[in-house]
Symmetry: C2
């Protein structure tokens, strides 16, 4: 049997316990039996989001959750601040454009992050901005900004802070309320170890006020309806029942392990991966000071075909890394540290990377990456 | 163990073969391995839709597919014809209202259907209408219109015919191309026996022309992007991978059995249910001539609390029927004939209905419903 190891930044591996939960009999969604699932899922998510406010369940991929944020908070003609320093930051701009919102884009070099000072300056130049959109873990480049500091900078303004935490939730910490994040968007297929199909959106009271006043056209993603339904422990439309049932199980497993423990676990895997790749001569793509633990992006060595590298690992060895996106296509490889992965998966990924790089002619000492990673993994 | 029998018009029962498929390991969506799944799913759907044109996969519940039809075909200020004779017909009007489209509503008494002549007259009164929205199986009342005749009436006009086949696809026939249906919307959690989370939208060349000219704001449900992605056997955003993998399996099972065979199978179950309920003194809610085989809606007998009836069947016996919606709340009960159900499930449902009606004081001969259904089920 060929291995099927996903080291991609979503979808992540679904562990057997959750595969089994996904295969449970479907129950009808408008029953007390299913309401118990909604209740437990939302309670668990609130704990993971670290929020006391509403968290809504939307049946869509993460982008649907991002769309819900834009079309519910803003009206055509409104101004908003977006940050472009990677593919997912650009998605906020695209969504603003699609919904008639004027995006005042803060450009950041790919591999770097926006600072709180830059956001503050961008807001001062655009004080009419109603929202600031950022990304918790920009997986196209491998960085994470200081969300707490940005939250501090935005909280005194009339603007809401909206965070795409799709790739971050459950892998690195987000303190929604105490960091003053008004809307946080996440999805099922990353840290929560489930298949794609569910998005989560939190909303602070400051966000609720904007949601009530937006006149953008919306129906399926209308958060006013989601709020009304949530008050009755319901969803406006038939939800992804199977994934919600498995989500209850996923949150239970994660809580049993401890959310804090998980954040440390992924940080350790990321540190080992950085050490392992460095030891075989691969250079980290992002600026080291703002690297996320959600994934490691390294440059493809000169003379090596990056697309062939990931293709061979996947098709010949069954180990899937992500390649580069947009301007980074063929130039970086990305290894995620999220979901149901342990230290042996990281070593397996590095072993395969060594094997294929060696076959492709990259010069390094075979085993050096594994040894370096192993040292980090066994530090006290 | 309490039984968990779903006789509801969505979600339907997921058979064990598909439960197992839902628990398979997740593969990354941007790989040749997953493209093979998209290809097979779309090919199978085209066969079931009876269309040669595109069918797009959207990660959402059925309503998301309906929204995609409205926001892609029409622009604010456009005129469209909707039919209100049940809850799902009304949803088309609500969607038009949400997207700034002027709905010219054809009102039909609940339990009846719009005729081709009525649609034609409605179009003559509103010749600027760009779309006609109908429902294949209106599950709130249990009826199905003559879609072929309506298609014939609409085809000579500049308007497109849009059919909500969410509850019908795979249960009763729809001939998308030869009935001149320009857009057909369906979902995973009905005839296809899967959990909710995927919607399907077909588009004829006449529909594609409107999609290209609409200026409604849209992003997640933008069918122009779905078309571009489909040309590369891809989806614009991370799809519900797990459900697509199981969809390939579901279509394989259905094809093995034969689509035509399935339509006859459900017609037989519906006929038996009508006979069984009649034999215990329950009156059919819809006009008999336009009854759908997708589900049977019968009136709750005078003096019986309809909500208590369905609640007792579900909570005490584990057998879930649907109650009435909107103005029919408490007044009808609805038994679906869709998905993984056989004649013994129908008899089980009738037996439980007899038992609880008997306990609640409804007068009839115990077993009369079962006997009448059994006779129909064993007709040559």
């Amino acid at each position: 049997m060929k291995r099927n190891l996903l080291l991609t930044p979503g979808p992540t591996q679904v562990p057997p316990e959750l595969c089994a939960a996904l295969g449970r009999p479907i129950i009808h969604h408008r029953t007390p039996q299913f309401q118990e699932n909604i209740k437990q899922a939302v309670e668990g998510l609130k704990e993971l989001f670290q929020t006391k406010h509403d968290v809504y369940l939307l049946t869509s991929s993460g982008t649907g959750g991002m769309e819900a944020a834009v079309c519910n908070l803003l009206s055509p003609g409104d101004v908003a601040i977006t940050v472009e320093g990677g593919k997912f930051g650009e998605r906020w701009t695209e969504l603003c454009n699609a919904y008639g919102v004027q995006a005042r884009v803060l450009k950041v070099e790919w591999g770097k992050v926006p600072t709180a000072d830059q956001i503050k300056a961008q807001w001062k130049a655009n004080p009419q901005a109603k929202a600031v959109f950022i990304t918790l873990a920009e997986t196209s480049t491998g960085v994470t900004p200081d969300v707490a500091a940005i939250g501090e900078a935005v909280k005194g303004t009339p603007a809401v802070l909206v965070v795409d935490a799709i790739s971050g939730l459950g892998v690195q910490e987000i303190k929604t309320d105490s960091w003053h994040c008004d809307v946080v968007v996440a999805g099922s297929q990353k840290g929560l170890m489930l298949p794609p199909g569910l998005a989560f959106v939190s909303a602070s009271p400051k966000a609720q006020a904007l949601i009530a006043s937006s006149n953008n056209r919306r129906y399926y993603f209308d958060l006013r309806e989601a709020k009304k339904a949530m008050e009755k422990i319901d969803t406006p439309f038939t939800p992804a029942i199977g994934i919600i049932i498995a989500l209850v199980e996923s949150l239970r497993l994660m809580k049993e392990r401890g959310f804090d423990h998980l954040f440390k676990h992924y940080a350790r895997l990321a540190k080992a991966t950085r050490a392992g790749t460095k030891a075989i001569g691969l250079e980290l793509f992002p600026q080291e000071s703002c690297t996320t633990n959600v994934l490691t992006a390294v440059k493809v060595p000169t003379g090596i075909d990056g697309e062939k590298l990931t293709k061979t690992m996947r098709d010949t060895h069954g180990i899937t890394f992500a390649g580069g996106q947009g301007p980074l296509k063929g130039k970086v490889i990305r290894m995620a540290h999220m979901g149901a992965l342990d230290e042996y998966d990281v070593l397996t990924g590095l072993a395969c990377l060594e094997k294929v790089l060696h076959e492709m002619g990259h010069k390094f000492e075979l085993g050096a990456g594994l040894a370096a990673a192993q040292k980090v993994l066994n530090q006290k």
